[in-house]
Amino acid sequence: MRVGVYFCNCGTNIAGKINPEQVKAQLRDMPEVDYFETCGFLCSEDGKRFLAEDIRSKEPDRVVIAACSPRDHEANFMRVLENAGLNPYLFQMANIREQVAWVTTDPERALSKGVSAIRSAIARVRLHEPLEKQKLDIVPDVLVIGAGPAGLKAALALAAADRRVVLVEKDPVIGGKPVRYEELFPAMECAPCMLEPLMGDVFHGEHADRVELLTQTEVVEVTGYYGNFIVKLRQQSRHVDPVQCIGCGECVAACPASAPNEFNCGMSERKGIDFPFAGALPYAPYLDHQTCTRKNRGDECRLCKDACPLGPDIIDLDAGELVKERNVGAIVVATGSGLYDCSALPNLGYGRLPDVYTSYEFERILSSTGPTGGELVTKEGKLPGSVAIIHCVGSLNETHRPYCSGVCCQYAFKFDHLLRSRFPDIRITHLYRQLVLPGKDGTSLYREAVTSHAVDLIRYENISDISLYSCNSGNGGTIISTGQQNKLNADLVILCTAMIAAPGADTLAEVLDVSRDRWGFFEELHGRLDAAQSKLKGVYLAGTCQAPMDIQQAMQQGMAAAGYVLAGLVPGRKLEIEPITAAVQTDRCGGCRVCVAVCPYKATGFDEESRKSAVNPVLCHGCGTCVAACPAGAMEGHHFTSAEITAELEEALG
């Protein structure tokens, strides 16, 4: 074993404190040290050239570089080693600048600490094994789950970069929640108009041929891993060919069956075959076989099919669900969020009092595609004279959700703006726990509201202090008691509810094997660095499935997720797996599965057949937590083996 030691003077940064000649003298008793070279600046272009040439000519078995922190130049030196024909892992740095020369006042003690660091590196490097990056073929195609703003943005960006995208949506309509709103904060932009170009591009944009949109589809099984997932998708039949259908609605008029329309929160009826709402895309009705009389009554009704002016081939009454399999390299989750269940706050009268709505219901009422065509009247049929908007419903409260959803205040003032412009004599009261109006445009609607004489703001301490009950005047309306405050009357009450994890997020998380946070949102890899990555490699997060956020942020996160995919999976390039991973020595593994329990990345699995653990190096991040946890010493961490670490500390303690 021949170890070459390189001492970087780093100008005077190191050599000014630690004399290399004295270091050299103190390594003489280590027989494996073959040579000792010094260099002025090893990281300079000249220095790297010298290093490469020297290694090529002297052909050491191992290299130690005593220089700066490995966090500065380790990667650079590893590349030099590789180019010089030496495996880059047969190398160790001794950090004698940041952690010795710069922090030790006494030169004599700096010398001895520096020598100790170099000797420890030599002791360690002796045990280093050559490691190779594993190279795997990848599939560059992508599955995007959810066709709301975040999913659409991600899918289109990926398609524009020539990737094939499978875009699945569980509903028969795309555009997510915002497409069901009339106008958006902060600039009162028409929501469907804003989303139309994105949605249109999915069907007939420049890259539409690369986007396979599957509506009424859910992901039921995922196997494989980053670079090579096999996904199984279950698609309900629409029973209507969305490509040939011209959306004339003749079938809708003919249908005898009806049910509450879930796209209007049950506030209106829809037919058994119907559009979710006017303008919904894909522009074709869907047949809900739960409502259809063929399913209900087992009859042979075919009125819709007969009514179709394009002939009998457009509607297929007997189509069943399809299971499709796709091979993708990465998955973007963009499944959106849900709303906090207001029945957990019975004092607010939701479901008990007639004119108390959630914000989402109110959005639908305001929408021209909603249950009333955008007309706003109370249940008594009156125009509302007074409206109460209750903020922070289920938010900022330890018994409900302690977090702030970050968007409610802004849409509350949007409602305020819309109500005042529609009804000049209206009175509006905002009841809030906290006002949160972030962003450069965040306060525009608020500032307009507070300057209006029609608007009052009342701060409450606890949502449980508020109670709503019915006016007994016979004219409808609600009385709101706010604790110490006077009671107030409202013809209409809007509850701005907390954004929560979407229904079904639990099932999807299980299918994908990704973790969720304590609130049920999909858990990000890192809150600041990698909020668009899940903890499972190759599964990315976009939009409110990860955390409450507004449309702007959701769109950006969609782009971010696409960026991760494009940067990580490049056609023609193999996926390089860092060799610093854990590995099981199967002969020592007792099958206790402690390693499976501690792995934050689900990289350790258990093979039921052999009753042993196994590490998937594609998923392993190399933290070594499982290595320290293994009670049998069966888990080894490449490049940080127990023997290497022990050798280092033994030499340091001399």
Partner: protein, 147 residues
């Protein structure tokens, strides 16, 4: 536990296990800020504090360390999400074990240092060196090298 007869020239030896992403970077930060601290520590870099097998700590004492320092990312900051929580859990057990062996509490310190906390790193090392100076050598206290 105060020890008598601590040699006047006693320089405690400390092995510090530092995670690559926060604490090791914090130690480097002390360097770039040129904050002097006693040179009694040898830093062993690990990718995550979760890699620190309690056996390493015992080996360090066995081979002559007077103190062992384990530094991790602050709670919630772990590069690997939860390695630092595992370390904290293990450290609680390790403390119990060391107590049963009669090893003084000051000889094993677990703390958090972020990448920006060069001053905190320097302070922790200084404090530990001072407390070990008072305590005396591990070998004397535990008669390890009697044979």
């Amino acid at each position: 536990m105060m020890r008598h007869n601590v040699p006047a020239d006693f320089e405690p030896k400390i092995i510090g296990f530092l995670c690559n992403w926060c604490s090791y970077a914090g130690a480097d930060k002390a360097g770039t800020a040129q904050l002097a601290y006693p040179p009694n520590i040898h830093v062993v870099r690990v990718m995550c504090s979760g890699r620190v097998d309690p056996q390493f700590v015992l080996q360090a004492y066995h081979k002559g360390a007077d103190g062992v320092l384990i530094l991790a990312c602050h709670p919630g900051d772990c590069h690997y999400k939860e390695g630092n929580y595992r370390t904290a859990q293990r450290n609680r057990l390790l403390k119990l074990l060391l107590g049963q062996f009669g090893i003084e509490e000051e000889r094993c310190r677990f703390d958090y240092v972020s990448a920006g906390e060069g001053d905190r790193f320097a302070r922790i090392v200084t404090e530990m060196v001072e407390s070990l100076r008072l305590l005396g050598p591990f070998a004397t206290n535990h008669h390890r090298k009697e044979a």
